[in-house]
Protein backbone atom coordinates (compact mmCIF):
# COMPACT_ATOMS: atom_id res chain seq x y z
CA UNK A 1 0.00 0.00 0.00
CA UNK A 2 1.16 3.54 -0.77
CA UNK A 3 1.64 6.30 1.76
CA UNK A 4 2.43 9.88 0.81
CA UNK A 5 4.76 11.62 3.29
CA UNK A 6 5.31 15.39 3.68
CA UNK A 7 7.81 17.44 5.68
CA UNK A 8 7.56 21.09 6.68
CA UNK A 9 9.72 23.96 7.87
CA UNK A 10 13.04 23.08 9.56
CA UNK A 11 12.35 19.37 9.22
CA UNK A 12 11.99 19.69 5.45
CA UNK A 13 15.33 21.52 5.28
CA UNK A 14 17.03 19.00 7.50
CA UNK A 15 15.85 16.14 5.30
CA UNK A 16 16.54 18.05 2.12
CA UNK A 17 13.21 17.35 0.45
CA UNK A 18 9.53 18.15 0.93
CA UNK A 19 8.04 14.72 0.38
CA UNK A 20 8.49 11.00 0.10
CA UNK A 21 6.46 8.04 -1.06
CA UNK A 22 6.55 4.82 0.87
CA UNK A 23 5.35 1.33 0.05
CA UNK A 24 3.99 0.68 3.49
CA UNK A 25 2.81 -2.57 4.98
CA UNK A 26 -0.50 -3.18 6.65
CA UNK A 27 -0.65 -2.14 10.31
CA UNK A 28 2.29 0.25 10.01
CA UNK A 29 2.19 3.13 12.50
CA UNK A 30 3.09 6.76 11.86
CA UNK A 31 6.40 6.40 13.67
CA UNK A 32 7.15 3.24 11.69
CA UNK A 33 6.61 5.23 8.49
CA UNK A 34 9.30 7.63 9.67
CA UNK A 35 11.64 4.78 10.66
CA UNK A 36 11.23 3.06 7.30
CA UNK A 37 12.19 6.24 5.43
CA UNK A 38 14.93 7.52 7.77
CA UNK A 39 16.66 4.45 9.11
CA UNK A 40 19.66 6.36 10.44
CA UNK A 41 17.76 9.35 11.86
CA UNK A 42 15.47 8.96 14.84
CA UNK A 43 12.39 11.18 14.80
CA UNK A 44 13.54 14.50 16.31
CA UNK A 45 12.02 15.20 19.75
CA UNK A 46 8.85 17.32 19.70
CA UNK A 47 8.12 16.47 16.09
CA UNK A 48 4.39 16.62 15.37
CA UNK A 49 2.59 14.31 12.99
CA UNK A 50 -0.62 14.50 10.99
CA UNK A 51 -2.52 11.92 8.97
CA UNK A 52 -4.76 13.27 6.22
CA UNK A 53 -4.37 16.78 7.62
CA UNK A 54 -5.47 15.87 11.15
CA UNK A 55 -3.07 15.78 14.07
CA UNK A 56 -2.19 12.14 14.81
CA UNK A 57 -0.49 10.12 17.51
CA UNK A 58 2.77 8.45 16.51
CA UNK A 59 1.19 5.08 17.21
CA UNK A 60 -1.74 5.65 14.85
CA UNK A 61 -1.89 3.08 12.05
CA UNK A 62 -1.82 4.34 8.49
CA UNK A 63 -3.93 3.11 5.61
CA UNK A 64 -3.50 2.85 1.88
CA UNK A 65 -3.50 6.31 0.29
CA UNK A 66 -2.95 8.21 3.53
CA UNK A 67 -1.02 11.48 3.59
CA UNK A 68 1.33 11.48 6.56
CA UNK A 69 3.06 14.72 7.58
CA UNK A 70 5.92 15.44 9.99
CA UNK A 71 6.73 18.92 11.22
CA UNK A 72 8.31 20.86 14.10
CA UNK A 73 6.34 22.70 16.78
CA UNK A 74 4.27 25.47 15.23
CA UNK A 75 5.23 29.16 15.50
CA UNK A 76 2.46 31.08 13.71
CA UNK A 77 0.41 34.13 14.61
Amino acid sequence: MAVHVKYFASLRERIGRAEDRLDAVNGMTVVAVWAALHQDTPLPPNTLAAVNMEYAELKQEVRDGDEVAFFPPVTGG
Binding site: F8, A69, F71, V74, T75, G76, G77
Partner: protein, 145 residues
Amino acid sequence: MRVELREAPFDPLAELGHYQHTQAELSGRYGATAVFIGTMRDFNDGETVQGMVLDYYPGMTEKYLWRIVEAAHREWPLLDTLMVHRVGELQPTDPIVLVAVWSEHRAAAFSACRFLMEELKSKAPFWKRERTSAGSRWVEHNTSG
Protein backbone atom coordinates in the same frame (compact mmCIF):
# COMPACT_ATOMS: atom_id res chain seq x y z
CA MET B 1 -17.70 33.41 9.06
CA ARG B 2 -14.61 33.72 6.97
CA VAL B 3 -11.15 32.18 7.29
CA GLU B 4 -8.47 33.15 4.83
CA LEU B 5 -4.77 32.75 4.14
CA ARG B 6 -3.10 35.60 2.27
CA GLU B 7 0.05 35.43 0.15
CA ALA B 8 0.25 39.23 -0.14
CA PRO B 9 0.32 42.03 2.45
CA PHE B 10 -3.11 43.01 3.74
CA ASP B 11 -4.56 45.96 5.63
CA PRO B 12 -6.37 44.51 8.65
CA LEU B 13 -8.56 47.54 9.29
CA ALA B 14 -9.66 47.78 5.66
CA GLU B 15 -10.26 44.04 5.69
CA LEU B 16 -12.35 44.29 8.82
CA GLY B 17 -14.37 47.26 7.59
CA HIS B 18 -15.05 45.61 4.28
CA TYR B 19 -16.07 42.30 5.80
CA GLN B 20 -18.37 43.95 8.30
CA HIS B 21 -19.95 45.99 5.54
CA THR B 22 -20.75 42.85 3.54
CA GLN B 23 -22.40 41.13 6.53
CA ALA B 24 -25.59 43.16 6.37
CA GLU B 25 -27.46 40.76 8.64
CA LEU B 26 -25.13 41.67 11.52
CA SER B 27 -26.27 45.28 11.51
CA GLY B 28 -27.99 46.36 14.73
CA ARG B 29 -27.50 42.96 16.35
CA TYR B 30 -23.94 43.11 17.64
CA GLY B 31 -22.99 45.23 20.61
CA ALA B 32 -19.43 43.96 20.86
CA THR B 33 -16.55 43.53 18.43
CA ALA B 34 -13.26 42.19 19.77
CA VAL B 35 -10.30 42.35 17.43
CA PHE B 36 -6.73 41.18 17.59
CA ILE B 37 -4.05 42.14 15.10
CA GLY B 38 -0.66 40.47 15.19
CA THR B 39 2.08 42.49 13.51
CA MET B 40 5.65 41.64 12.54
CA ARG B 41 8.12 43.44 14.78
CA ASP B 42 11.60 44.48 13.68
CA PHE B 43 13.18 42.93 16.76
CA ASN B 44 12.88 39.45 18.30
CA ASP B 45 14.87 37.41 20.81
CA GLY B 46 17.52 40.11 21.03
CA GLU B 47 18.14 40.55 17.30
CA THR B 48 17.05 42.95 14.59
CA VAL B 49 14.81 41.11 12.16
CA GLN B 50 14.95 42.09 8.49
CA GLY B 51 12.38 39.77 7.03
CA MET B 52 10.41 36.62 7.61
CA VAL B 53 8.97 33.69 5.73
CA LEU B 54 5.76 32.14 7.05
CA ASP B 55 5.56 28.52 5.98
CA TYR B 56 2.31 26.54 6.30
CA TYR B 57 0.69 23.26 5.34
CA PRO B 58 -1.72 24.00 2.49
CA GLY B 59 -4.98 22.24 3.21
CA MET B 60 -4.32 21.37 6.83
CA THR B 61 -3.74 24.95 7.96
CA GLU B 62 -7.08 26.20 6.61
CA LYS B 63 -8.82 23.12 8.03
CA TYR B 64 -7.32 23.72 11.45
CA LEU B 65 -8.29 27.39 11.49
CA TRP B 66 -11.89 26.52 10.59
CA ARG B 67 -11.91 23.96 13.36
CA ILE B 68 -10.96 26.48 16.04
CA VAL B 69 -13.46 29.02 14.70
CA GLU B 70 -16.17 26.38 14.92
CA ALA B 71 -15.05 25.46 18.44
CA ALA B 72 -15.36 29.11 19.49
CA HIS B 73 -18.86 29.31 18.03
CA ARG B 74 -19.86 26.22 20.00
CA GLU B 75 -18.40 27.63 23.22
CA TRP B 76 -19.72 31.21 23.12
CA PRO B 77 -22.82 32.93 21.68
CA LEU B 78 -21.06 34.57 18.74
CA LEU B 79 -22.65 36.29 15.78
CA ASP B 80 -19.67 36.12 13.43
CA THR B 81 -15.91 35.60 13.15
CA LEU B 82 -13.31 36.75 10.64
CA MET B 83 -9.80 35.33 10.57
CA VAL B 84 -7.11 36.33 8.08
CA HIS B 85 -3.55 34.98 8.32
CA ARG B 86 -0.62 35.97 6.19
CA VAL B 87 1.74 33.39 4.66
CA GLY B 88 4.87 33.73 2.51
CA GLU B 89 7.46 36.53 2.59
CA LEU B 90 6.88 39.26 5.18
CA GLN B 91 8.58 42.55 5.99
CA PRO B 92 8.79 44.13 9.45
CA THR B 93 5.58 46.05 10.27
CA ASP B 94 3.53 43.72 8.03
CA PRO B 95 0.33 42.48 9.66
CA ILE B 96 0.50 38.72 10.29
CA VAL B 97 -2.91 37.85 11.63
CA LEU B 98 -6.32 39.44 12.11
CA VAL B 99 -9.00 37.89 14.30
CA ALA B 100 -12.33 39.66 14.75
CA VAL B 101 -15.32 38.37 16.68
CA TRP B 102 -18.82 39.84 16.86
CA SER B 103 -21.31 39.12 19.64
CA GLU B 104 -24.22 40.77 21.44
CA HIS B 105 -22.30 41.35 24.65
CA ARG B 106 -18.65 41.88 25.36
CA ALA B 107 -17.75 38.82 27.44
CA ALA B 108 -18.24 36.37 24.58
CA ALA B 109 -16.33 38.50 22.07
CA PHE B 110 -13.37 39.06 24.40
CA SER B 111 -13.13 35.43 25.50
CA ALA B 112 -13.52 33.99 22.01
CA CYS B 113 -10.99 36.38 20.45
CA ARG B 114 -8.35 35.44 22.99
CA PHE B 115 -9.18 31.73 22.72
CA LEU B 116 -8.81 31.87 18.94
CA MET B 117 -5.38 33.51 19.18
CA GLU B 118 -4.16 31.03 21.81
CA GLU B 119 -5.34 28.07 19.75
CA LEU B 120 -3.91 29.53 16.57
CA LYS B 121 -0.53 30.24 18.17
CA SER B 122 -0.23 26.89 19.93
CA LYS B 123 -1.57 24.51 17.30
CA ALA B 124 -2.20 25.91 13.83
CA PRO B 125 0.42 24.69 11.32
CA PHE B 126 2.49 27.82 10.63
CA TRP B 127 6.25 28.15 10.91
CA LYS B 128 8.27 31.35 10.97
CA ARG B 129 11.73 31.68 9.51
CA GLU B 130 13.37 34.99 10.41
CA ARG B 131 16.10 36.75 8.47
CA THR B 132 18.59 38.72 10.55
CA SER B 133 21.99 40.22 9.78
CA ALA B 134 23.47 36.92 11.02
CA GLY B 135 21.47 34.94 8.45
CA SER B 136 18.22 33.07 8.49
CA ARG B 137 16.81 31.00 11.36
CA TRP B 138 13.64 29.04 12.03
CA VAL B 139 11.85 30.38 15.07
CA GLU B 140 12.03 27.56 17.62
CA HIS B 141 9.15 28.35 19.91
CA ASN B 142 6.25 30.72 20.18
CA THR B 143 5.87 33.37 22.84
CA SER B 144 3.39 32.27 25.46
CA GLY B 145 0.13 34.18 25.72
